[in-house]
Symmetry: C2
Subunit: 409 residues, 2 copies
Amino acid sequence: MSSPVAEVKFLSGVKIVDFTQFEAGPSCTEALAWLGADVVKIENPKMGDPGRRLRPGKPDDDPYYFHVFNANKRSMTVNLKSPAGLNLVKDMLRHADVCIENFAPGAIERLGLGYDVVRELNPGIIYAQVKGFGEGSPYERNLAFDMIAQACGGTFSVTGEADGPPTRPGISLGDTGTGMLMAITILGALYKRRETGEGHRLQVAMQDAIMHYMRINFATQGRTGKAAERGGSKVPGVRNAPMGLYPCAPGGPNDYIYIMTSRANPEHWDRLLKLMGREDLIGDAKYATPDDRLEREEEVDAIIASWTRKHTKHDAMRAVGDAGIPAGAVLDTMELESDATFEQRGIMQVMRHPIHRDFKMPGWPVRIDGKPPALKSSPVLGEHTDAVLSEWLGLNAQAVAALKTDGAL
Amino acid sequence: MSSPVAEVKFLSGVKIVDFTQFEAGPSCTEALAWLGADVVKIENPKMGDPGRRLRPGKPDDDPYYFHVFNANKRSMTVNLKSPAGLNLVKDMLRHADVCIENFAPGAIERLGLGYDVVRELNPGIIYAQVKGFGEGSPYERNLAFDMIAQACGGTFSVTGEADGPPTRPGISLGDTGTGMLMAITILGALYKRRETGEGHRLQVAMQDAIMHYMRINFATQGRTGKAAERGGSKVPGVRNAPMGLYPCAPGGPNDYIYIMTSRANPEHWDRLLKLMGREDLIGDAKYATPDDRLEREEEVDAIIASWTRKHTKHDAMRAVGDAGIPAGAVLDTMELESDATFEQRGIMQVMRHPIHRDFKMPGWPVRIDGKPPALKSSPVLGEHTDAVLSEWLGLNAQAVAALKTDGAL
C-alpha cells in the first residue's frame, strides 16, 4: 500500500529564523514547516525553548508538548547574549525571508534584534511578532498565557452552563488560534514579496485574535442587542429542538451524542421518531413545529434520551446519521488516537524521534492532491546547528568549532 | 488623526470563485479577501448563501451572521441549474486562481463542477474543498455542522467541569478553525504556483481540523497515558495553585478574573499575598511550595477569592497585572464592543452597509506595517454581478442583460 502522506514543497526555499517559544509562535512556524519552509529554531544552548521543559528544574519529562508544536523544524543553539552569537544571528537574518518572535513585550528589542535593527540588515524581511495584548491596548505591557487571552477575548463568557460560571474552553485557542492567523498573514506577505521584494512588519495580539473566533457570538449580539450568552451544549441564538447532547450507554464520562435537527428540515423530527420507535408521536400536535418542540423542550429531550441511553454513542451516531440527521459522538483523545482510520488516512501520524519513544499525533489535516504532509520529528536541541551554519552561511566545520569554543553556540 | 486601518494588497490580482456557504468555507475566503484577493461569491439568485437567512422562510433578519463571514467580498448571482449559468461559471473558472466549495458530500459533482471537470478547464487552478468528515472516514457521507465536528473532534470531551458532562466550547471552532487551516494551505499552494503554474486539489474535513487545535490535549495524554480530561477553568495537566477563575464584584455572570501564577516564578505567590494584604502568610510553611499550595488548593483559592470579591474585575486585572502576575478579566461581547480602544486600534471596525444598519465587528486582527486591513461591507445579493462579468469576462451590458433574460443570473 502506498503511503497516505507525502512531502509537501509549497514553501521550499523559504528561510525562517524562528525565535518563538511555547505555543502561539511555534504553532505558526510549524504550519509553515509542514508546507515545506526551512524553519530554524534559534534556541538558548542551556535549556532551549522553555516548551521543552514545562516543569522547572526537571529534565525533559514532557517532550510531547514540544513535539506537537515543533514537528518538521530544525534546531540550532545560539547564545544571543554573546557578541559572536548575536552577529551570527544577524548574518542569518540577512539571508532569511521571515523572522518571528513571541517573547515578552520589549524583550526582542533588549536583545538588539528589534524591527528597526533587523530591517536595516534586510529590508525585504517579513518580521512577525505575537504578543498577549496589542500595541496601544491598556494592557500592552502585560504578559499573557492562553487562559488570560481567552478570558479577555471573550471565549470564557460564552462557554459553560447557562446558570453556571464562565468556563475555559479546553483547547488552547489563544495560542494556536493566534498562530494560524499570523501564518495566513505571513503567507500573504510572502506571496506579494515574490513580486515586489518588499518586507513588512506583522503584529498580532492574542486577545485580538481570539475575537476573530468569537465573530459568531458578536453576530448573535448584533441581532439580540445583548451580550452573547452561554448555554451548556445548546447554542444560544439557535432556537431549535431537539438539539444538544444526549447520554448514551454505558454511561461513561464521554458517552454522549450530539444530535441536531434543523429548523429548515421539518422531516428530521419525524425521522427521529421513527428511528426511536415512537411512530405514535408522528403528527402529534404537541410537537408539530419547531416552536412547539421548543416550548416542550424538556419533554422532547426526554424522548430522545430514553432512546440514546440504550445505545452506545457509536451505534447511535451510525443510526441517527443513516437516518439523515446530523449527529456526532463525543470522542476523547484516547478514542481518537485508537481509531486506526485516522492513521490510514494520514491525519494521525507517528513521530519517530531519535531519543524519545514513538508518539502518535495529529499532523497537518489538509490533504494536498490526496495526501497530508508527512510528519518529521521535532528536533533535538541544537541538532542542526552545524548543518544550518553550513547551508545558510557556508561556514565549515572549523569555523563552527571556533564559534563553539567562543561560547557563541 | 490618521486612520488606524489600511487597504492591504498582498493578494491583489488573485481571483477566487467562491461557492462556499455558512461559515467553514466563508471564513476561509474572507481571510483571503482581507488580504486583498478578489473573492466572488457565486450565489443562488433566489436566496443566496443560506447564511444570509438562517431562519427558513424569514426575510433577511439575521444579517450579522452573514456580515461577519463575508466582509470584503463581492457577490454575483448565477443559476447553476441553467446551462447558460453553468457555462458562465466555467468561463470564470478558466480565469480563476482558486475555486472553493463546502457543499454537502457529492453536491459539487452533481452540479457538474467536480475536480475532474474543473481541472480540465484550468489545470493551474487550486481547487479547495471543506467537508465534515474526511474521504475514507466511516462517516464520509455524513453531514456535519460545527457542533458535530467539535463533538467528534474532541473539544467537548475536554471542556466543562471535571465532574460534569462534556460541554460545547462557545465558539465555532469547527467552522472558522477549519477555514483558517484551509486558508493557510491555499496560500502555500498560491506561493508555489507563482513558480510552477501548477494547480492542486486541497481537501480538509472539519473533524480532522479540530484535532489540530486539540494537540495540547494529545500531548497531555502522551504524558499521562490517559485520555485528556476536563477541569472547569483549571488546566488538567498543569499542576499549580493558585490558578483559575476567581469571582469579582459586583457578582454578575461574567464578573470573574483568571489569575495564573507560574511554577517557574515562585515569587508570584509572595507578590499576590502582599497585594492582597496577607503579608502574614508570606513564608508560611503551609503554602511555601507549589506542591504545598496544590495540597491546600481550596484554602489557597479562598484566600485569593476573599480579595477578588472586593474588587471589580477591571480593578483586579490592573492590580494583579501591575504586580507582575498574569491575570485577565472575563470579558463578554458587549464589554469588548464597548471598549473604544479596540476601534482606535483598528481591531474592531464599523461595517457601513448599503441596506442594513451600521455594525461594529472584529476585523482581521493582524497589523501590517502598523495597521490592520480595512473592513468593507459584506455584499448585497448579486451586487457585483455586472461588474464581475465585465472585469473577469469582458461582457458588456447587453450581454449581461441577455443572460438575465435567459434566467442564467
